[in-house]
Amino acid sequence: MEFSELQRPSSTIAHSYHGAQQLVRLRSKSVVSNQNGPQFNWGSPPSEGGEEGDSGPPKDLRERPMTMRLKRAIREVQQMRVPVVTSWQSWKRSKAKSLSRFRADAGGVMSYVALWRKALHKIGGHFGGGVQSYFIFLRFLVVLNFLSFLLIAGFILIPSIVFRSTSTSNMTVDSTGPEVCKVYDPNLQGLVVFYQYFLDLLSGTGFMEYSYMFYGYYNNTVAESSGFHYNLPLAYLLTSVFYFAFCLICIIARMGSALRVAVATGSGAAGSYSKMVFTGWDYGCQGDRATKLKQKSIHYQLQVDLEEERLQKKALSLTLGQTVGLCSLRIFLMLISLALIGGAFFGIFKATVFSQVQVGAEGILGLFWVYLPSIVITTGNFVVPFMCDQIALFERYSPSTTIIVALFRSVFLRMISLGVLLFTLWSQITCFKDSPKCELCQYNNKEYPCWETRVGQEMYKLALFDFLITIAMLILVEFPRRLFVDHYSCVLTRWVGRQEFLVPPNVLGLVYGQTVVWTGALFCPLLPLINTLKFFILFYCKKVTLFSNCRPAVKTFRSTTSTIFFLVVLLFGWGLALVAMIYSLAQIHPSMSCGPFRSLTMMWSIVPNTFYTLSLTTQDFIFYMGSQAFSIPLFIFSCVVLCYVAALATVYGKSVDLLKAQLKLEGRDKQFLVKQIEELSREMGVPTRDQLDTFDTGAAN
């Protein structure tokens, strides 16, 4: 592998000397495009020339930057020359050709199938890559949720439906425990008012509570019929665990591909403007408006980067006193923002406790109490970042640092507020401070006869409320704002202006929604499906508001690093949900009145129980795998593999740096050589530009 890497510089040297020859001609005559390509060696056999010489000749020709006329001439010559190849090689070549043609056709078909491809193109063309990365992230979440739903449906939902409808061959093991713990009657229906259904739909109670929606409906059936054995509780548990693992694998795979791009792109150090200047233009921009916007955004970005460089230089030249003052100011403001966030947490805690106490209130007021935690969280998520932004104006960080600090604050706020909600719920269920209530059943059975369903309902409410708020914001805030700005023009409207589509808050909203789904999936198996629909509708709503109400941002948002940031934040959410799931599986006693785990003292204990029913040889085998005789050699082996891969990575990194330095040196060499050739040609009276022109055009024809 390294051998071929070292070979590459020599071929680029050959290329560059060709190019050097070329450059003398380039400089001394005007542009005639068919002459400006690199030289083609007419005498070489078809398979040589070009670094990708192992694919057949047709691909080779395309990669040469020559005019069509030249390429066709070369192709004719190649076809006239009969290459001496064996039948095996010609068969291989024809197969390779048909394979590449098949791949091209398949690629064309796949691009039609990809979800929302045209919409994403259009969004990116008009609003840039930052906004497009938000929609790509949204699409990723839709697909992830849909696949998770298929997983859950296949292993939990469909077997449950089947077992319920064929209630012959199941065994329901009743739990052992005090009778009062087994009381659970969700169907307190009498004559209900019509709008009760609507309220039930919003809060997951009533007709929705005892349904496939929530944990409480599933039985702990172990179906056995003619050799087919299906243990539903075990399936429930393992599917939930595997669902988490599956999501983790998807996120890491996606992050891997984004990281590869980011590493190749290199760090965006201020001062490296060449990248932006040479690769900054989007040739897909359509129309005058998009072009002007792109020009404005490039202008803005260049100014920002130049400003950042100036600020950096200035920061280096600050005196000690000024630095100390700046640091203390920043620490003070950071403490203020942390205090604000802490205040929000306290508010959420109080609201959750109060809401749990108010269970059973009727009507709209009851709905309000029930939704109180969600309301407080959403209010906090609006107010606190806004105030932190105002604080950030005084902190005088550089622009990119400001964005990162603001993002981290928002992420912290959102994730921890959800964590506080969960903590209060759990403390209520397990009677954190008030032991007498929980003595009988090890959980608070008076207020939570089926606590898993309650938690599931809470997560369902959070997800639904999040969705409703987004739609409400769209209809009640964004559309009126646009109408107002467009039809009236006064100082206020000009100052407010049209909505700008801010990517970070929107992404955090998505991550929050997904974290809620992960937390609630164990207790509300249909939540991934609901989330799929929610995100699906959200895509279209956001697209509509983007095109109707928003003006494109002048301040563009980096898309490569931002994709990684989105996925990292998603991983935070995943971690939080994982902690919640582990705590529920391993610490809290499952409800004795409902659900698949009603006969167990701990949800996880189904696994050891089933394990001991396996055959003795299997048990011995698994014990052996867990024992020291196996795990220590495995650990040592994986350490060795890790060291090898790390060493390989270091070596590659070093060789990449070496090659980069070599390229730079070659460049300088070429510059020197060209100067020499200039001087020599001047001294020796080399033919003038026009003479060379006629010579070349004569040679070509």
Binding site: S16, G19, L23, L26, R27, S30, V32, N34, P58, R62, E63, P65, M68, R69, R75, G108, K118, G124, G125, H126, G130, Q132, V261, A264, G266, G268, G271, S272, S274, K275, V277, F278, T279, G280, W281, D282, Y283, G284, C285, Q286, G287, D288, T291, Q295, S297, I298, H299, Q301, L302, L306, E309, T556, R558, S559, T560, K660, L663, E666, K670, T697
Partner: protein
């Protein structure tokens, strides 16, 4: 020789397919668009004058449109007119599947405003002015321009096709800038903005 016939021959089509990075549908679409440009002119013309090419909606607002026409034109009179094969070369260089070498070669030539084979300070200044806009209030101030040029390692960039390749390699994802996607739909260019703000 560009063809003005309403149909492309089958072997000509497959030849073009082999020699460019375009698919069959894209070549046919390109032929259709090219014929539309010629439709009002004399049928015997083999190349389309630059003004007509610049009237294409995809090129109309592009700040580099004149440079693109000059680079891809093979006309002896150097007037930027394009034959059909030049047009295909243009589309091929800008397509998704074109290699880095092709793209960097043509990018270098497009950015080389004075056609001297080198990218020097003057070229860079014109380039930045194209990028930021022609009007006075969208240009960088002279001090900013000086700061930018001095920081762009411009001395290393002269004659540096390989250096440009290396830069473009680093921004391989952003290379999709320099492309249009002829996705076989009814419009020749679709907005392909898969990176935009991957700005350092």
């Amino acid at each position: 020789m560009g063809t003005t016939a309403s149909q492309l021959g089958k072997d000509l089509l497959s030849e073009y397919q082999e020699l460019t990075f375009l698919t069959k549908q894209e070549i046919l679409l390109a032929h259709k668009r090219y014929s539309e440009l010629l439709s009002k002119e004399d049928r015997n013309l083999t190349s389309v004058p630059m003004e007509k090419v610049l009237s294409l909606p995809e090129l109309k607002s592009n700040p580099f449109r004149k440079r693109i026409c000059h680079v891809f034109s093979t006309s002896d009179m150097k007037d930027g007119s394009l034959t059909f094969e030049d047009f295909l070369d243009l589309l091929s260089a800008f397509s998704d599947s074109a290699t880095l070498e092709i793209k960097s070669h043509y990018a270098f030539r497009i950015f080389d405003f004075d056609d001297d084979g080198t990218l020097d300070g003057g070229d860079l200044e014109k380039l930045v002015n194209c990028l930021t806009g022609k009007t006075e209030d969208t240009r960088l101030t002279p001090e900013e321009m000086r700061q930018l040029i001095s920081n762009s390692q411009i001395s290393v960039l002269q004659n540096r096709i390989e250096q440009l390749e290396q830069l473009l390699e680093e921004n391989h994802q952003i290379i999709s800038h320099i492309k249009d996607s002829c996705s076989g739909a009814d419009r020749l260019w679709r907005c392909v903005p898969q990176r935009t703000a991957a700005l350092p």
